[in-house]
Symmetry: C2
Subunit: 256 residues, 2 copies
């Protein structure tokens, strides 16, 4: 137990998204035996982390950053040197910045990777020839410009759906209580999937050459690597690979 070089995962936002990231870390590792797999710690404490959107939109005064920072300190105690957080919304600056400040204030050194920055870096490294990247996300992630700003900083053009498609096609595919993926995710409903395929065609028609599935629920309904020739980009895969690269780069499975 001396050589600590553990990969940390902050779960609970939601619980299954935390599991999905851990599974992708295992899947992206070159390993044949149990012992060749990498050390991973998952702390899934959902009841401690208040709703991210409620805070960002002013419906709650509790910044979930403090609870997240406390979990990061626990991960450090379990040996983690780097961590990831599979929740797009928690990367909005009012939350993410406050996590980093709280860690610095308490003198902790665990490094928190940034899901959105890692996704954009993954797109550039994997498809250097592409310039116009579609983004499907919740209304909250759109509102806070998370993928748009990161893509633009990287010199890429973000292709987002028009307001009517964001609000009446993509968002219901995630949140609708009757057919949305949060309510019926295993398996997702045909209607949720069709909504997303329609939105993919919509951003393709607007010039997108690849599509970021910028909400942890979306890859459940669109699991295929390409749709109609466009690469589908799962941020959890990008984050999993970045976590391996940060700890055991020699174990990273080549992209295939």
């Amino acid at each position: 137990m001396d050589q600590d070089n553990v990969i940390g995962v902050i779960g609970g936002m939601g619980p299954y998204a935390g599991l999905d990231l851990v599974e992708k870390i295992f899947d992206q590792t070159q390993a044949v035996t149990d012992q060749e797999h990498l050390p991973v710690a998952l702390l899934s404490y959902p009841e401690r982390i208040d709703d991210r959107s409620a805070f960002l939109f002013g419906r709650s005064q509790t910044n979930p950053a403090l609870a997240i920072a406390a979990i990061l300190r626990r991960l450090e105690g379990a040996g983690a040197v780097v961590a990831g957080m599979p929740c797009n919304t928690a990367h909005a600056a009012p939350i993410y910045g406050c996590i980093l400040e709280d860690l610095a204030r308490t003198g902790h050194r665990i490094r928190l990777l940034h899901l959105i920055e890692e996704t954009v870096g993954f797109v550039r490294a994997t498809w250097p020839e592409l310039g116009r990247i579609g983004v499907l996300s919740t209304v909250a992630v759109h509102h806070f410009r998370l993928y748009r700003d990161a893509l633009e900083r990287a010199g890429l053009e973000a292709v987002v759906p028009e307001a009517a498609v964001r609000e009446q096609v993509v968002n219901p595919a995630i949140f609708d209580p009757a057919f949305g993926i949060k309510a019926q995710g295993n398996p997702p409903t045909a209607r949720a999937r069709q909504n997303l395929l329609d939105a993919i065609q919509h951003v393709k028609a607007a010039g997108a050459e690849a599509v970021i599935l910028g909400c942890t629920e979306l890859p459940l309904a669109v699991p295929e690597p390409t749709v109609d020739g466009l690469p589908m980009i799962d941020p959890a895969v990008a984050l999993a690979r970045a976590l391996i690269q940060a700890t055991y780069p020699e174990k990273l499975r080549p992209l295939g």
Copy 2:
């Protein structure tokens, strides 16, 4: 972060079995929102835990119990009050007993549930009318009589396959490098599944009224709840339910 009543999971034996147990804890929880899910800590440190069978059969002098006990102390540090370990072989007395001794020696209070005892308890509580329980397992788990002794202590009869079936049908379905589930688990091969269906018919013909799938790999190839009228019992489900019962009994999903 004050009220610690975390469920701990010792992963890494193998890594995907640890994930599977966490997923079953989530699945067996009554929860609609993220925040209603239970706090779970998974520490998957596979490189620290030496091969269980190698120690039990004298091919290695390193008892994996000490590494497992160290991980349990880490889980306690992350707030866990109870833990489970989804690896049948690690419950053989020379390992399991040594874990408990090491925890007692160092004054730690985290409670380690026993996968096999919980499985037998689950069988008795769920199907009180059944008396003869089939057991499919690795040769190692058979050799150490883990399920047989626990069933007999509970007043149940264990129905195990004959030696030829254990060694030439069940064990290859798990370990064969060409078609076994450890080598090809996602999805399992048709041959591995057929071997297991044959073994189920074999113990049914010998009088089994239900079958314990006593190796974490087996439910991957036989996921259905019943085969030819016989309940298939997944020890990970029994352990997941016992972990919830030990911490948040009011959140346990009723059996459906």
